[in-house]
């Protein structure tokens, strides 16, 4: 069997505060295989971005990885010194964020930003790096790339800027790209274009993608597998079609039912009562238990671990006999 390109083992992220320790991510385990697209969904505050930040080594202090391991191929990266991690970021792990302006410096021409990044990571001359940058811009669908490369970020539209960010993320041929809400700030008609470009260009290069989004539609069309997060924990993970059409965890079932769909005209949407708990008030046992329509006694006291409930599929819910205690 091939080795995963990225392997996250029992990841726990904590924020020490004056009033105690907040656990933003608790005991999360998943793999991403080479070339695979893993979608990560969940409500805001579920810990999606924090998981991504842990992988790229950019958790805001005083936050820290309290437990677990992160492996990039056969190298453990969660305990690397900051300067060694900096070399991996951009080179072996690419990053795409929601707001293209956080990745682009408004004061520098696109050419300078791309060429500098390329030359930081690859042994290329100025001229060759420029050639590579133009080719990349062309690949992500910037028309007239040879001329546009010397423009400033503000001279591009939102969608075009996000294409530039994709080019920047891919300029050193990373093995995996962490994309955090890459299309959330864009218009509907442009979102589809950006997702297509990102998927195509990663597929061509064999790069895996961890696609963080709260938009299930984007996941449905893009991901091979999907992880559903709730209150910092993994609720369910499995192949995208089975999770969407046949969710196992009551939270994922509610989440799917809450999405209005074009193909059906229901009078009411499925709705989960209540809201996600704050980090300082995560309930005992299963974090979802106060909102769960199928809750029973054990759920209130014992925390279910994400366990294999069928081949290739894990869920953290006591409804499934295979599930063990965390």
């Amino acid at each position: 069997m091939t080795q995963p390109v990225l392997s996250v083992r029992n990841l726990t992220v904590e924020f020490p505060t004056r009033r105690g320790i907040l656990t933003a991510v608790q005991d999360i385990t998943f793999d991403i295989m080479p070339g695979e697209v893993l979608g990560v969904v969940g409500e805001s505050g579920a810990g999606k971005s924090m998981t991504g930040a842990a992988i790229i080594g950019l958790i805001d202090p005083p936050g820290r990885i309290a437990k677990g391991e992160i492996w990039l191929g056969d190298q453990r990266i969660d305990n690397l010194a900051p300067d060694r991690m900096r070399k991996i970021r951009g080179r072996r792990i690419g990053m795409i964020f929601q707001d293209p302006l956080t990745s682009l410096n408004p004061l520098y021409r696109i050419s300078r930003q791309l060429i500098e990044t390329i030359r930081t990571h690859l042994p290329l001359s100025q001229a060759d790096a420029r050639k590579r940058a133009i080719k990349l811009l062309d690949d992500v669908g910037i028309p007239d790339a040879a001329r546009r490369i010397d423009d400033y970020p503000h001279q591009f539209s939102g969608g075009m800027r996000q294409r530039v960010v994709i080019a920047l993320a891919l300029c050193a041929d990373p093995e995996v790209v962490i994309a955090d809400e890459p299309t959330t700030a864009l218009d509907v008609s442009v979102q589809a274009q950006i997702i297509d470009v990102m998927k195509e260009i990663c597929a061509e290069r064999g790069a895996a993608i961890m696609l963080v989004t709260h938009d299930m539609g984007v996941i449905a069309e893009t991901a091979d597998r999907v992880a559903v997060m709730y209150a910092g924990r993994l609720a369910e993970i499995g192949p995208v079609a089975s999770v969407i059409k046949n969710a196992k965890h009551p939270y994922s079932q509610g989440l799917m039912g809450a999405i209005p769909k074009l193909g059906e005209n229901l009078d009411r949407l499925v709705h989960i009562p209540g809201s996600m708990p704050r980090l300082n008030a995560i309930p005992q046992g299963c974090a979802f238990n106060p909102r769960c329509p199928q809750v029973f006694d054990k759920c209130r006291t014992h925390r279910p671990a994400a366990s294999e409930i069928e081949p290739g599929r894990r869920a953290a819910c006591w409804l499934y006999p295979e599930v063990t205690e965390a």
Binding site: G159, A220, L262, D267
Partner: protein
């Protein structure tokens, strides 16, 4: 039609976005304007939900603010239940009319005064419109409203920041309902919310509509949400209506190429295997819109006429589209 509650006629709104006077003189520039809304007409019948969809900058919020009187039209007229809201409506008559409609905004936190307790926020329309109401009656009414939107009367003592996004939107809805309006303009009421919270709010809005016979103008950029809520839909592009008509028909047989494109761009959440058509290009700047049909630079059916002549709305069955190709029967 006798049951028309809102009649929007040839509404236009222009904004002056010129550089400061001195810069203009030095650089020899003319004044610059944005036509945020251009010649938009539609009617909303009592008890219905009229949805406005469109991408960022298409003029949705501007229309919302024109309807509730936060902005004045440059041209055109808005008629509410037979009375024109044109400039000049003042005093008691204005107040009588104004209390019949309310607005809900996208960002509930920005629209709720952070220094006021929730009780005072919700009671504010009562103080304005129900001047004879005593404190006790007002207090009871606020408790009733909080219960109605799924909160509890004790929540009235808290401040807005002590609530989640979804709860804040419930507070905004309670405030909007306080003066018993008939008509509510909702500008992206769920766009800032997660899907599960969005479902709660959309269900609540539908329940309230059934209970009180409310009429909504519902603004959104999300077609699935619009599909769920609307009985009639207007599709905006660069300030103009591209297509308007019955929701069912518009989704089943979209006429305008832009509507078709928007529907194609909706991700296939049901995983039916439907392939999206790739859409080219982005929305041009509204400051310098293309001549002729504003959609022509992105339209696969554009021809010479499209590049020079602005298409008007032509009705065909339950919907009307502003497109030469549709009118000519080319598509």
């Amino acid at each position: 039609m006798s049951d028309t509650l809102l009649d929007v006629r040839h509404l236009s709104r222009r904004f002056d976005v010129s550089a400061p006077w001195l810069n203009r003189k030095l650089e020899g520039l003319d004044k610059t304007y944005v036509n945020a809304v251009k010649d938009v007409s539609f009617t909303v019948a009592k008890g219905q939900t009229f949805a406005l969809v469109g991408e960022s900058g298409s003029g949705k919020s501007t229309i919302a603010r024109l309807i509730v009187g936060l902005l004045e039209p440059t041209e055109g007229e808005i008629v509410f239940d037979g009375t024109s809201l044109a400039r000049g409506l003042k005093g008691a008559e204005a107040r009588r009319l104004r209390r019949r409609f309310q607005m809900i905004f996208q960002d509930p936190l920005a629209s709720l005064n952070p220094r006021w307790r929730v009780t005072d926020i919700i009671a504010e329309p009562l103080r304005v419109f129900e001047r004879s109401m005593n404190d006790r009656a007002r207090h009871l009414r606020v408790g009733e409203l909080l219960t109605l939107v799924g909160l509890s009367p004790e929540d009235g003592l808290k401040f807005p920041h002590q609530f989640s996004g979804g709860q804040r939107q419930r507070i905004a809805i309670a405030r909007a309902l306080a003066a018993n309006p008939e008509f509510i303009v909702c500008d992206e009421p769920t766009s800032a919310l997660d899907v599960s919270v969005q479902a709660q709010i959309l269900n609540l809005m539908k329940d309230l509509q059934d209970e009180f016979g409310l009429t909504y103008v519902f603004i959104s950029h999300n077609l699935q949400v619009v599909r769920h809520m609307a009985t009639e839909i207007g599709v905006l592009y660069l300030g103009r209506l591209a297509e308007v008509g019955e929701a069912e028909a518009l989704f089943a047989t979209p006429q305008h190429p832009y509507t078709r494109m928007l529907l194609d761009a909706v991700p296939d959440i049901e995983m039916t295997g439907r392939r999206r058509k790739k859409v080219e290009g982005e929305i041009p700047s509204p400051i310098d819109p293309p001549p002729g049909c504003p959609f022509h630079p992105r339209c696969p059916f554009a021809n010479a006429r499209c590049r020079s002549e602005v298409p008007g709305l032509t009705r065909r069955g339950p919907q009307a589209a502003a497109c030469h190709a549709v009118e000519e029967g080319r598509i």
